[in-house]
């Protein structure tokens, strides 16, 4: 060993062998460096979020969309926290090891494998926790016989994409403080621009398309067959209002003002409507108003009555009925089904189509994100020797 290596052909460990060395090292550090804490954290987060979304996830349109966003956020959170600090916290060590023969590509690939395993375990724990918390996954998925597996693949891909993005950030920043300062901004951006729950202005559409949360929500919502779920907001609102009175009433004075507005189509319609027109005629019957009399003449007659001043603030109820009565009169089920169907029809979104092609495209998008950011991580970390001392 004392001989000069340059004078004879000596081979040192290549890229593939180095991947193995670092993978074993990361596994060891997983146990000793408390990196294992991300696993119980994944269970706690999944449990908390499930508490909120479990009732309507995979049941209604609104619940599915909320659930899709929540599940995407869990995956993104897990992914980000897995790797945001892993490189920057040992940047100086990597620099030393790079000087001693470490290949950066081997280092990143071993991180990729290690992080993939971590994301996989977190995904299993997340899906299992969601199931335990009462989220009712539909039985069959599009790609497998179990919807949980299909959704699990998506959650894994979201989580792993987030993991690779934060791995890249970790190669860019030089210490953990900076990494943790950047983290909330990225998480908030992912949440706000996900496009699921929040109505986004037109200018932000292109930003939204850069967010993994956007594709996450889209993919999970599609897998949950969003477009064929009922929309319950309108029906729920109606039920909340069922003890309210449905009342049409005016004061005489208001009526006069309305009638005076002869350019208003509604006034014309009102007087020509049989029921309401009859009520008006009843009201005015003491005044011997002929139905052929023009509106302006009626107003003049009424206003000239000596009692007008006393009566003008008095309310005249055209009709009064409870919302519940209307619903019951039409038929409760009919009203509910009609509302849920028509509002759901109006809210269907082709992005959430329950098709293999749609979901496969989203999965491909995640794979591209993973490949892109892993490559960027290698490229950025290759410049580690250029760090300022």
């Amino acid at each position: 060993m004392a001989e000069n290596s340059a004078t004879r052909k000596i081979r040192h460990r290549g890229r593939f062998e180095q991947i193995g060395i670092y993978l074993v090292k990361f596994m060891r550090l997983f146990v000793y460096q408390n990196d294992w804490k991300v696993l119980p954290m994944a269970i706690v987060i999944a449990g908390l979020v499930s508490l909120v979304v479990r009732r309507d996830f995979f049941v209604t349109m609104e619940g599915t969309l909320k659930g899709a966003l929540a599940l995407s956020c869990i995956a993104i959170w897990n992914g980000f926290f897995n790797s945001i600090q892993v490189i920057c916290r040992e940047r100086e060590i990597i620099k030393r090891e790079h000087r001693s023969g470490l290949h950066i590509s081997s280092y990143i690939v071993s991180h990729m494998i290690y992080q993939a395993l971590l994301c996989l375990v977190q995904t299993v724990l997340t899906i299992y926790t969601c199931k335990m918390m009462g989220i009712k996954f539909p039985k069959e998925g599009l790609f497998s016989n179990w919807m949980m597996v299909d959704v699990g693949v998506t959650v894994f891909l979201i989580s792993y994409s987030a993991d690779m993005i934060s791995l890249w950030i970790s190669t860019l920043v030089h210490n953990t403080t900076t990494a943790m300062s950047i983290m909330p901004f990225i998480l908030i951006a992912q949440l706000v621009f996900s496009g699921g729950i929040f109505q986004l202005p037109a200018w932000s559409n292109s930003i939204s398309k850069l967010m993994i949360s956007h594709y996450g929500v889209r993919c999970i919502a599609a897998q949950a067959d969003y477009n064929n779920r009922p929309m319950v907001t309108a029906w729920n609102t109606l039920v909340k209002m069922e003890n309210n009175d449905l009342e049409v009433a005016f004061t005489l004075d208001e009526l006069m003002v309305m009638l005076n507005d002869d350019e208003n189509d509604n006034v014309v319609k009102l007087l020509s409507t049989n029921d309401i027109g009859k009520k008006i005629k009843d009201t005015l019957k003491d005044y011997n108003v002929d139905k052929k009399v023009i509106v302006n003449a009626i107003i003049q007659v009424i206003k000239s009555d000596p009692q007008y001043e006393a009566m003008k603030d008095q309310k005249i109820t055209i009709f009064k009925v409870k919302v519940k009565d209307v619903i019951n009169a039409i038929g409760r089920d009919r009203v509910r089904d009609y509302l849920q169907y028509t509002t759901a029809q109006a809210t269907q979104n082709p992005n959430y189509a329950f098709t293999e092609d749609n979901i496969a495209r989203m999965w491909l998008a995640f794979l591209m994100v993973i490949a892109l950011f892993a490559t960027l991580s290698v490229v950025c970390l290759e410049f580690i020797d250029k760090d300022k001392r």
Binding site: Y32, I93, G101
Partner: protein, 455 residues
């Protein structure tokens, strides 16, 4: 229109470009230019820079010994100018919002960096910090006062690098005849900083025989670590570095296994045990044909040398400072390199531990290796060293070779009886030294030239 630019006419543009202000405020700008013209003369900066927009801020920062801040200030003021100039063309409310944030950030940066530069000026001119407030509030008139005042004189000067009168001995001339040991011939190590070339090291030539333990001496900022990085090819210089007949730069990937570099900090993962750390390092650094048993034997051998065997299953986090240093050295020694470089291996160690460590390094050198050590407390272990490299920061703030040779020769060359006094003699007066770096660089170069001339 969401922005109202203060630049409305071509005259405004010229005035803004020239003075940094528009309207009546430009009077302050003109006063500042005159003041800087006078101040640059005092600091040894070419006065015409006072008339160059944006660049004058950078030159002022150089006068304040705050070059880094100067770069950021110059870029920020230029960006502010661009926004001011292009502001009228912003028609989207979103863009306007983004630009407002950018302006806010830039104004904050400009203010902070101006304060830093004025603080630097106050330090260089050795005057009261109240001047910082005056600079911020008035600018131009203060610059004029500083330029004219005979009381306010900078304690350091910024000079443009000129070719030295002394033609140094050629490094190639020395290294061509060396097949063993380490021959270093560095012509220059430069970096580009803000469109100009900055010299970190110049004309450093020496040859170290195998089996020598060498002390690298120099004041803070003299370029010791830069020199070591240049020697091992980590930060390449315009140089030839030959280790045992092989050019380190040309065969860098191979030669990294021949060089052991122990950095200042203990860069080891805290939650790994000593044994695992060394085994992983052995896998990386030893040739791939070394089998698992041989690898483990080598790890055990190195642990034994550095007294790490009893605590081999302990986590690095739990080790004492001395143990961590020894582990850090052991990691580099695993591959049995022929050149062993240590950057302050004794920092944080008490006298006894430092001596013990240096003795171990001496025994490494005795095995025919070259050991180069940077230490700030050399005198307690000077008897263990064979040679000394003295690096000094000259008046151009470039790292230069002030001496290379045996310890006793160094004492007589500098006329000092200890290494710490040698460092003191070459350190600048601003850090409490004697400021004789140029004198010794010149003296050593003259001696080298004579030696080369005599063959």
């Amino acid at each position: 229109m969401y922005f109202s630019s203060t630049i409305e006419t071509w005259f405004d543009l010229l005035l803004y470009l020239f003075t940094g202000y528009t309207g009546l405020y430009s009077i302050f700008g003109i006063l500042e230019i005159i003041g800087l013209f006078l101040m640059f003369k005092k600091s040894g900066v070419k006065s015409f820079w006072a008339f160059i927009p944006f660049a004058r801020a950078y030159q002022l920062a150089k006068c304040a010994d705050r070059e880094e801040e100067g770069r950021i200030l110059t870029v920020s003021t230029f960006l502010l100018f661009l926004i001011n100039f292009l502001g009228d063309y912003i028609e989207s409310p979103i863009m306007a919002l983004i630009v407002y944030f950018a302006v806010l950030a830039l104004v904050t940066i400009v203010l902070i960096y101006e304060i830093r530069i004025y603080a630097g000026l106050v330090e260089v001119y050795k005057t009261t910090k109240l001047w910082i407030v005056a600079w911020l509030a008035l600018g131009g008139p203060v610059a004029i006062y500083w330029g004219l005042s005979k009381k306010l004189v900078p304690s350091m000067k910024v000079e443009d690098l000129k070719k030295d009168a002394i033609d140094m001995a050629s490094g190639r001339h020395i290294i061509n005849k060396m097949d063993n040991g380490l021959a270093v011939g560095i012509q220059e190590r430069t970096v580009m900083e803000f469109f100009h070339k900055k010299y970190l090291l110049r004309d450093i030539n020496f040859y170290i025989k195998p089996g020598r333990m060498v002390l690298l001496l120099g004041g803070s900022g003299a370029g010791k670590t830069t020199l070591l990085n240049a020697i091992i090819g980590y930060e390449k210089a315009k140089a030839d570095v030959i280790l045992n007949g092989t050019n380190v730069y040309e065969k860098y990937r191979k030669m990294i296994y021949e060089v052991g570099f122990v950095p200042q900090q203990n860069l080891i993962r805290g939650k790994d045990t000593i044994e695992h750390t060394l085994l992983d390092t052995a896998k990386l650094r030893l040739p791939s044909n070394v089998n698992a048993k041989e690898r483990r034997d080598r790890v055990n051998e190195v642990m034994e040398i550095f007294g790490l065997t009893p605590s081999k299953t302990h986590f690095v986090d739990k080790l004492s400072g001395g143990q961590k240093r020894r582990l850090s050295i052991a990691m580099e020694l695993l591959s049995n390199p022929s050149l062993f470089i240590l950057d302050e291996p004794d920092s944080g160690l008490d006298g006894v531990m430092a001596r013990e460590l240096m003795t171990q390094l001496r025994s490494v050198a005795d095995q025919g290796k070259i050991v180069i050590v940077i230490t700030h407390t050399p005198d307690r272990v000077i008897d263990l060293f064979d040679d000394v490299i003295v690096l000094a920061k000259d008046s151009h703030r470039t790292g230069r070779l002030a001496f290379f040779g045996e310890i006793d020769e160094a004492r007589s060359f500098f006329g000092k009886d200890s290494m710490e006094k040698i460092v003191q003699s070459i350190n600048s007066t601003s850090v409490g030294g004697e400021g004789r770096a140029d004198e010794f660089v010149l003296k050593y170069a003259t001696e080298q030239n004579k030696e080369v001339a005599n063959g």
